[in-house]
């Protein structure tokens, strides 16, 4: 448990954000790691980071758009885009997990989905599909945060391209579509590199 003296406004702010954002943060964590228990741990660790950063005015905290106005005003560094900040905290918690001694060695490694390990060996015709899927997930992890968020929102959360690009990058109009195309091009390059090295 973290012991930080908070005033009532901040406690109410964080309570509301925990209630409204935890499910989405979990889903993003699950998208990254594809493991239920690990995604729960990552979500919790991300919240600890957010909580501490809101408590410490000296830390550089990004601004959050759409945050509860009165509560946000009570925070030293107003957060302008809480959703993007939350996603970044989730990703950082995931990277911390990968870097932890004795667990994983680097971001290039992709966890095997918890229900798929046995299938690789039992069902031959599924093997290439699963390997292909793992290559894709590995490539997604190598994108930068905005690009990964764009792909996540568009393909995994069902956003329209413009909506996903705005949410992930802040771009609108033709710039949003150009960014989407550029992200797909980058992803193809990463996949080509990976498949060539297999």
């Amino acid at each position: 448990m973290i012991d930080i003296p908070w005033d009532r406004d901040r406690i109410e702010f964080i309570k509301t954000e925990v209630r409204t954002c935890t499910g989405a943060m979990y889903q993003y964590a699950r998208f990254l790691c594809r493991d239920r228990r690990l995604a729960e741990d990552i979500t919790q660790n991300a919240w600890v980071t957010i909580f501490k950063s809101l408590a410490n005015p000296d830390q550089s905290t990004p601004s959050v758009e759409g945050a509860n106005e009165s509560a946000a005003a009570a925070i030293h560094e107003p957060i302008r885009n809480f959703k993007a900040y939350a996603r970044r905290c989730v990703f950082n918690a995931f990277v911390d997990y990968l870097r932890a001694a004795g667990t994983r060695t680097g971001i290039g490694e992709v966890l095997l989905p918890e229900d798929e390990g046995h299938r690789i060996f039992r069902i031959d015709d599924k093997a290439s599909e699963i390997v292909s899927s793992l290559d894709l997930r590995n490539a997604l992890l190598q994108l930068d945060e905005e690009d990964r968020a764009l792909v996540y929102l568009k393909y995994y959360k069902g956003y329209e391209t413009a909506e996903a690009a705005l949410e992930a990058t802040g771009l609108t109009g033709s710039a949003a579509y150009r960014r989407h195309k550029a992200v797909l091009r980058r992803l193809r390059e990463l996949l080509t590199t990976e498949e060539a090295s297999d």
Binding site: I2, I14, V18, R19, T20, C21, T22, E40, Y156
Partner: protein
């Protein structure tokens, strides 16, 4: 398969995984870790306290 088809196929697999968790349990766990009392919000939101706020809608991230 082209890239977008691969993404869509992977997203279908993800969709089934992503809802397989207990959100309320996870929220309770986060509250506990952060040292936030859940009871406070329950009492503050009670009709006796003069508030009848609905729970906040989940956000898409």
């Amino acid at each position: 398969l082209n890239l977008e088809e691969r993404l869509i196929r992977d997203a279908k697999s993800f969709a089934a995984e992503a809802t397989d968790f207990d959100e309320e349990e996870l929220i309770a766990r986060v509250y506990k870790t952060l040292g936030i009392s859940v009871d406070d919000s329950a009492s503050n939101n009670s009709p006796a306290a003069g508030h009848t706020q609905r729970p906040a809608e989940p956000k898409r991230i």
